[in-house]
């Protein structure tokens, strides 16, 4: 079937829903395509909050937020993006409140705020309450509220449609192709502008906080066109996932006063970040935890976790402000944070890298200012270089609303100015080929076993601590898995609701993300933010203060070409010189 809209949004998480709302305000026809029902998107899993310098609890300023974001990103953050962000997010949070978002409140009825890792007052002096929250289900409330507003605005949704291809010709995007799960039919969507907001790819790792559906689909589709993925080596491991399960325990627990302890009960963060201790940024806390474990001070049967201690907090705080994680610990571990220490371990969490964009969300085609006309991106799958080498907690939800909104506004503006470009001839061709290949192959290898090997090897070889030999080995492993994937067996022939086919397709997307990530990580011979190399232990601004752009080599399967893009070291009114990053 064929459809036509001025603006098409792919993905219905926080970024996609915000983009759809704002595109619709721009007086153009809008539709949103999502492989999940919108309210199933993983934005709903975000717990801790959304950071904005409202100053409701303590004095705060956007300049401080900008500084923290740049420093948190280990100076790989583009400072113009950080400035736009730190200013815009204040308004955006008020706007969410005006949309009805049920924030928790301060005693005087304002939006409640709490401390979060890496967010400080006065350029690093002490932790500040900046995270605006709705209990510990802020993402759930953002997702619900934005979906509600889209229902109000009458946005057209195509739910359980999987985008399988982007139609780009002569440097301009003309639409997308999508597979309808309920019928097995391919649909073509013709559009003047397309906004990609399809989320991350955390399922490439064994221990992860990410949903089963976060498989990097649109990053891979973009990359398959020979277009670059930026800063893929920077992947965040959140320090506190429930042991063995990876289910996230919000950083808000440390914001509320939770303390990390090793096997002897020591508050070990005092040794690694003497000033802000447990509230150091995530990369630092994750490495500290792994160091404790490696040096034999872990807890649990396999000594591969440490404990988070809330027992000194009042029951009302634990069961009120931290109800969600209390429920998770009780449900999945049978433990009660009111009286038990809860074992946690770092969990794969967030992709700092992704599809490169400018400040308006326009997708970049190289590191020299080239772009893809009519194609925009926002959210975790995009890389506007806000998070640099390490994202601060609460800055992703902020990213979704600030840059989702901008992408919506600019995509609509563009769509108002141009006519529809012609669709390519036979637009479904590549998608038909993709499915034919998957359906025809009768290899013995099933998708689940290839996926499992991918997840385990990525965790071991491109995880929290990295080194050249392990990553080089991983390049080979991904190549080998890709070769096996070419033969992956799909045994279910049915047309309707063929989820086996979808899972096989998603595995292919994830393998691409893993390929780009591993190559980018191996190439960067320094340690910066979340990219920590045992063989190159220091940050090297002289050679590496630049963004990586990874391109798939379209002529040599499995090869990746690396280019670069300069870092914006100045904002519009403020600039922060790169300094050593100590907390």
């Amino acid at each position: 079937m064929h459809h036509r809209y001025d603006v098409l949004v792919v993905g219905a998480g926080g970024a996609g829903l915000m983009a759809a709302l704002y595109a619709a305000k721009g007086n153009v026809s809008v539709a949103c395509i999502s492989k999940l029902y919108p309210t199933r998107s993983h934005t709903g899993a975000a717990q801790g909050g959304i950071g904005a310098a409202l100053g409701n609890v303590q004095e705060d300023h956007w300049e401080w937020h900008m500084f923290d974001t740049v420093k948190g990103g280990d100076y790989l953050t583009d400072q113009d993006a950080a400035e736009v962000f730190a200013k815009d997010i204040i308004d955006a949070v008020y706007e969410l409140e005006h949309m009805g978002l049920p924030f928790s409140r301060t005693p005087d009825g304002k939006i409640a705020q709490r401390k979060f890792g890496g967010h400080t007052r006065d350029f690093g002096k002490a932790a500040v309450e900046r995270s605006c929250y709705a209990k510990d289900r802020t993402g759930h409330m953002i997702l619900q509220t934005l979906y509600q507003q889209n229902v109000k605005a009458g946005t057209t949704f195509y739910n359980e449609f999987h985008v399988t291809d982007l139609l780009i010709e002569d440097g301009r995007c003309r639409g997308v192709v999508a597979y309808e799960l309920s019928t097995g039919e391919l649909h073509t969507f013709h559009a003047k502008a397309v906004i990609l907001a399809a989320g991350g790819y955390g399922r490439a790792f064994k221990i992860t906080s990410n949903a089963l559906t976060l498989t990097g689909d649109l990053m891979s589709i973009y990359y398959r066109k020979g277009l670059p993925l930026e800063d893929m080596e920077f992947y965040q491991f959140h320090p506190t996932g429930l042991a063995k399960l990876g289910i996230l325990v919000t950083e808000g627990i440390r914001g509320e006063g939770g303390i990390l302890r090793n096997d002897s009960g020591e508050r070990f963060m005092e040794r690694y970040a003497p000033t802000i201790k447990d509230l150091a940024p995530r990369d630092i806390v994750s490495r500290s935890i792994i160091t404790e474990i490696r040096e034999g001070r872990g807890v649990g049967r396999d000594k591969d976790a440490v404990n988070i201690d809330l027992t000194h907090l009042p029951r009302e705080v634990i069961e009120g402000k931290l109800a969600e994680i209390t429920d998770l610990a009780r449900t999945y571990l049978g433990m009660d944070p009111v009286k038990d220490l809860v074992p946690i371990q770092p969990t794969a969490h967030y992709a700092m890298g992704g599809i490169p964009t400018d400040l308006n969300g326009l997708c970049l085609s190289d590191g020299n200012g080239g772009s893809v006309e009519g194609l925009y991106a926002a959210g975790e799958q995009a890389c506007v270089s806000l998070h640099g080498a390490n994202r601060l907690g609460t800055n992703s939800l902020g990213d979704l609303v600030v840059f989702g909104r901008r992408a919506g506004i600019y995509a609509a503006q563009y769509a108002r100015q141009v006519e529809f470009a012609d669709m390519p001839e036979n637009p479904e061709r590549e998608s038909v080929d993709l499915f034919d290949r998957l359906r025809a192959s009768n290899g013995k290898d099933n998708a689940a076993s290839i996926r499992k090997e991918l997840q385990e090897s990525m965790m071991n070889n491109v995880g929290i601590f990295r080194n050249g030999p392990d990553m080089a080995k991983q390049v080979g492993i991904v190549q080998e898995l890709k070769a096996r994937y070419a033969n992956v067996g799909v045994s279910d022939p049915s047309r309707r609701y063929n989820s086996e086919l979808i899972e096989a397709m998603e595995l292919g997307f994830m393998l691409d993300c893993a390929e780009a990530m591993t190559a980018s990580a191996l190439n960067r011979t320094e340690s910066r933010g979340a990219h920590d190399r045992e063989d190159f232990t220091t940050r090297d601004d002289e050679n590496w203060l630049k963004h990586t752009m990874a391109y798939k080599d379209l002529n040599r399967e499995g090869q990746v070409q690396i280019g670069y893009k300069p870092v914006s070291l100045k904002g519009f009114t403020r600039a922060f010189e790169p300094k050593p990053r100590v907390y």
Partner: protein, 254 residues
């Protein structure tokens, strides 16, 4: 059909963790092949601490790739995987094996009731979302907003604590006997959503919402069976919220 397979374990725990034997009986239906649904039993090994969803994933990944169901987050927040497990509506990802079966025992899994089964455990959610949309599930306040936030006290905010916690999984609505016999009843989930706005001190459409609740598809159909409250995976006291809405309709104010 019976199959045996390697251990299920999403949680990769050390070898010392004991495995238990289970029979998993699934009500299957393939619209392209079957006239009616039929039971299929799978023999699996699992850990007591596995989620039922881990077990079902294992069956899909290694035994029966065509088995169809929805899932995403794996920890009870996205609302995808409501199923009838051992006769009760639950989220498969929030139900542990040890809560529903002992070693050698059987777990039965069926689609939730009252919505058309499309394939295996996957049902047509459109009527459910239609009821949701019918209650005007969005904040309405057309007065000019202040430059900063609208003020709301902590107590006022707390009144929405339960109703705003809903993840639209449909466990409640599809456990409601009134909904089974009369699909036009908006059902508990939609009423919970209405509650969220009716009791929001900032919302200005209370009267319209109470009007919708007062219609014959609305709140008076509820016979306080409590099935919904028992089914809710988020511990929302649904029956109590419905009673609060009934009172608001009666007094014409929240």
């Amino acid at each position: 059909m019976t199959q045996t397979h390697a251990p299920t374990s999403a949680a990769p725990v050390s070898a010392s963790v004991p495995m238990i034997q289970l029979k998993v009986k699934v009500l299957r239906f393939d619209p392209e092949k079957d006239k009616k649904a039929h039971w299929t039993t799978y023999d699996v090994e699992a850990q007591a601490s596995d989620r039922v969803l881990d077990v079902i994933n294992h069956i899909k990944w290694y035994m029966e790739p065509s088995l169809t169901f929805r899932r995403s987050c794996m920890h009870g927040i996205c609302g995808s995987d409501a199923m009838l497990i051992n006769g009760r509506n639950r989220l498969a990802c929030k139900t542990l094996v040890r809560d529903v079966a002992k070693s050698g025992g059987t777990i039965t899994v069926e689609p939730i009731r009252g919505l058309k089964v499309e394939k295996d455990l996957l049902v047509d959610m459109e009527p459910f979302f239609d009821s949701y949309k019918a209650i005007m599930p969005y904040f309405i306040n057309e007065s000019p907003a202040p430059a900063a936030e609208r003020i709301q006290s902590e107590e006022e905010a707390e009144r929405m604590a339960h109703s705003s916690n809903c993840i639209l999984c449909a466990c409640c609505t599809t456990s409601c006997p009134i909904f089974w016999v009369n699909g036009s009843y908006l059902g508990p989930a939609a009423i919970v959503q209405a509650h969220r706005f009716i009791f929001d001190t900032r919302d200005e459409a209370t009267q319209q919402r109470l009007g919708i609740m007062n219609q014959n598809t609305g709140v008076w159909r509820c016979r306080t069976a409590y099935n919904c409250t028992e089914a809710c995976p988020r511990d929302i006291p649904i029956t109590q919220l419905i009673e609060e809405v009934k009172r608001a309709v009666m007094y014409g104010q929240a």
